[in-house]
Amino acid sequence: MSIVLETQSVTKRFGGLTAVNSVDLQVPEHTIASVIGPNGAGKTTFFNCITGFYIPEEGDVLFQGASLIGIAPDKIAKLGIARTYQNIRLFNTMTVIENVMVGHHPRMKKGLIGAVLRGPSTVAEERDAYRMAMDLLRFIGLKDKADVMARNLPYGDQRRLEIARALANEPHLLLLDEPAAGMNPQETAAMTEFIRRLRDERGQTILLIEHDMRVVMGISDQVTVLDHGEKISEGPPDKVKRDPRVIEAYLGKPLEEDV
């Protein structure tokens, strides 16, 4: 199994605050790796370091063996890393299918001239992109809503559409930022199952941020726990779940008198 993503002691500071402190992580191909931790643990900052929106002060991010440090976010997306957002950020006034087609942008080539002349190759490219987007919508069950405006979708559909938009990139690595945030237990279960299908049916490599333990423990191949920007535990879900340091980070230290 080859390693898709590797971070080597990545550190990100904001002034005096160290948001991410020397985090090492490896994501093997076709697996789901999770990063968990309480609020403010530095999970989203860690994501932003991978996608190029932040430049870490120390350490290195290797994607398929090449460093991503200093590469612009759009170039990183083109290399094959796609992401979703904790607070859904769809293109609200675009239709569902247009959102997905924007996700396919880095895999298309035609520019200004191609668009104006609209020769056979442009027509073919547009048609292929449309078909690809339709296939994805079928996969996430939104085929019938292709021409609905994104903002008019129900919440759960918006979450799935955001994932479809990321998948349209045909990414080697999919980053999901709290995909079950704001969902009730049934929706969470459906989303968990959906993420599992991504790995099992499409062989998608996934790095997942979540603080809902039900999502993480059921589907992760490997879990990394962050607290105050530092890695405090790592391993398969069962092992991490029993780690006293993890329990402490989530529930607090037991008081001396009670023991």
């Binding site: 996608t51 932040y54 087609m101 942008h105 298309m108 200004l112 609209r118 547009e126 704001g182 969902m183």
Partner: protein, 534 residues
């Protein structure tokens, strides 16, 4: 309901009528109509024209009053129209009683209000005695108000019932015919429709004299610039207030390359045209590099400064030898085709129309392409667009360059038509006008840009009869227009949906309401952090 709606519309229109009378609108219309209908004697014409004007205003008032009524029953609409008419009529009637009495006792009101000449008051009073005139006003407005309410009710169509059912049935049946469905999906239908539109538009100038050709030409040039700015503001979401800079580049390129002074190279117009467009586009890209790192309001301020810099540069002593300074450039050559001079206003209008159709073609093609999607995505959320692999800086430059090239073409046409260009053609007002064309018409909508240009550049010409009150009325109309149609005269499909959503919120699952609330704050913090790291 009917009473409240009627009263409100009545008071508003009463106020509007008083205002219109004070600035002499009825008399102006009277004069225009009399010129058109020479076979009626002046006195009868005076009465008929004024009555007609009052009636039309009453219909509008009644129509507006019935707007908020339920579609059923009929009485509500008519009643509210009637009440609106009565109140409007009472207002103007009272005014006319006072004015007519004063006029009859030989007091010249022109000392205070210069539009209230004795003849104007005479026509307003329909040549009747004060009391009768007041009564006539109430009667006319009551009748016309009720008519307006009725028209509104008819327009909304609860009467349709069986007839409407039949029409929609026939339409459905027609749509199901295979040949119709085929025609709807076939590109040939689209070509035929376009050909028809082009043919109609190309015939229109044949019926225009030089003056109206000139007016329409100005409208056309603003359509061209509006289409360009529409790409920048409407599609890519970059608020650009410096459009005039590229307009000036186009105008001065054609001026300096074809005029005998001050450079005197005397190039061919068509070469200068290409140069003008390309140079303006290049200027857009070059000036865009430093400017486009800014977002939103900051971008607006900086582009505004940019436009001013260009204007001040061309009139400065520094560049006097190259630009002619404050005197401008004279004797710019016009285009010729196969040896034929395109001299008259009408032929030049054709030339402008061809340009418009070409640009509409380009805009439509761009809109439905990878480039257009990238622009719209960028407007929606720049950060996410970048995370999706869109090189935002390049796409911004592309949008800016396209907008600049369109504006450059506008400048070339403008300078070559006037055979002159000077610093005063390139003030900030041009940028603001073009932006207003886009906003009044409807963001990101091609028909919107055309309507907007008509409203902003054509309407003032039609209002020219009102001379010094022209701008006042025009401003008032703009305000009313934006209150009634905030999304623009002809909004794009996208905007239309957006605005209609706000009227009736889409039911969202409860879970989203609870989770969506705190997230914007998070997003803000994130954004700030990003800004800090840059």
């Amino acid at each position: 309901m009917a009473i409240r709606n009627g009263t409100r519309a009545g008071l508003i229109f009463g106020f509007i009528m008083v205002f219109l009378i004070l600035i002499g609108v009825p008399e102006t219309i009277n004069v225009i109509l009399q010129e058109a209908t020479t076979n009626i004697d002046v006195e009868t014409g005076q009465v008929i024209n004024t009555a007609a004007f009052l009636f039309v205003m009453g219909v509008v008032a009644g129509f507006a009053a019935a707007r908020k009524e339920e579609p059923d029953p009929l009485s509500g609409a008519v009643l509210s129209g009637l009440i609106a008419g009565l109140i409007t009529g009472a207002t103007t009637g009272l005014m006319i009683i006072i004015l007519r009495s004063l006029a009859l006792s030989e007091i010249d009101l022109r000392e205070y209000l210069d539009k209230l000449s004795p003849t104007a008051i005479e026509s307003l009073a329909l040549r009747l005695s004060p009391i009768l005139a007041g009564g006539a006003h109430v009667l006319i407005f009551a009748l016309s108000g009720a008519t307006g309410g009725l028209l509104n009710w008819i327009g909304r169509g609860p009467w349709r019932g069986p007839v409407g059912q039949m029409i929609s049935n026939t339409r459905d049946r027609l749509a199901r015919l295979p040949i119709v469905a085929q025609a709807q999906n076939s590109p040939i239908t689209r070509y035929v429709v376009w050909a028809a539109v082009i043919a109609v538009v190309m015939i229109v100038p044949q019926f225009l004299n030089d003056y109206w050709s000139f007016v329409l030409g100005t409208v056309g040039i603003y359509v061209i610039m509006g289409l360009g700015l529409n790409i920048v503001v409407g599609m890519a979401g970059l608020l650009d207030l410096g459009n005039v800079a590229f307009f000036a580049v186009g105008a001065y390129t054609v001026g300096l390359l074809t005029a005998p002074e001050p450079v005197g190279v005397l190039w061919d117009f068509w070469t200068a045209l290409i140069f003008g467009i390309v140079l303006a586009g290049l200027a857009g890209v070059i000036l865009g590099v430093p400017v486009l790192r800014l977002r939103g309001d900051y971008l607006a301020i900086v582009t505004l400064g940019l436009g001013e810099i260009i204007r001040i540069l061309i009139r400065s002593d520094l560049l006097k030898d190259f630009t002619g300074g404050p005197r401008g450039v004279r004797d710019i050559s016009g285009p010729s085709l196969f040896g034929l001079e395109i001299g008259s206003e009408r032929t030049f209008l054709y030339f402008i129309l061809v340009g418009i159709f070409l640009l509409i073609f380009v805009t439509i093609r761009l809109k439905n392409s990878r480039v257009g999607r990238a622009w719209i995505a960028m407007r929606e959320d720049e950060t996410v667009a970048q995370a999706m692999g869109i090189n935002t800086l390049n796409y911004k430059l592309l949008a800016f360059g396209m907008g600049a090239a369109f504006a450059g073409l506008g400048g070339v046409l403008f300078a070559s038509r006037n055979q002159f260009t000077g610093p005063e053609d390139h003030t900030l007002l041009v940028s603001i006008n073009v932006l207003a064309v886009v906003i009044v018409g409807g963001m990101n909508s091609i028909p919107g840009v055309i309507l907007g240009a008509f409203a902003l550049k054509g309407l003032p010409e039609i209002l020219r009869q009102l001379d010094e009150y022209r701008v006042l009325v025009f401003g008032g109309l703009l305000v009313v227009m934006m209150i009634l149609r905030p999304e623009g005269l002809w909004p794009s499909q996208r905007t239309r949906l957006q605005f209609s959503d706000e009227d009736e919120p889409v039911p969202i699952e409860l879970s989203s309401a609870t989770s969506a609330a705190p997230t914007p704050i998070k997003a803000d913090v994130e954004e700030q952090k990003q800004a800090a790291t840059r």
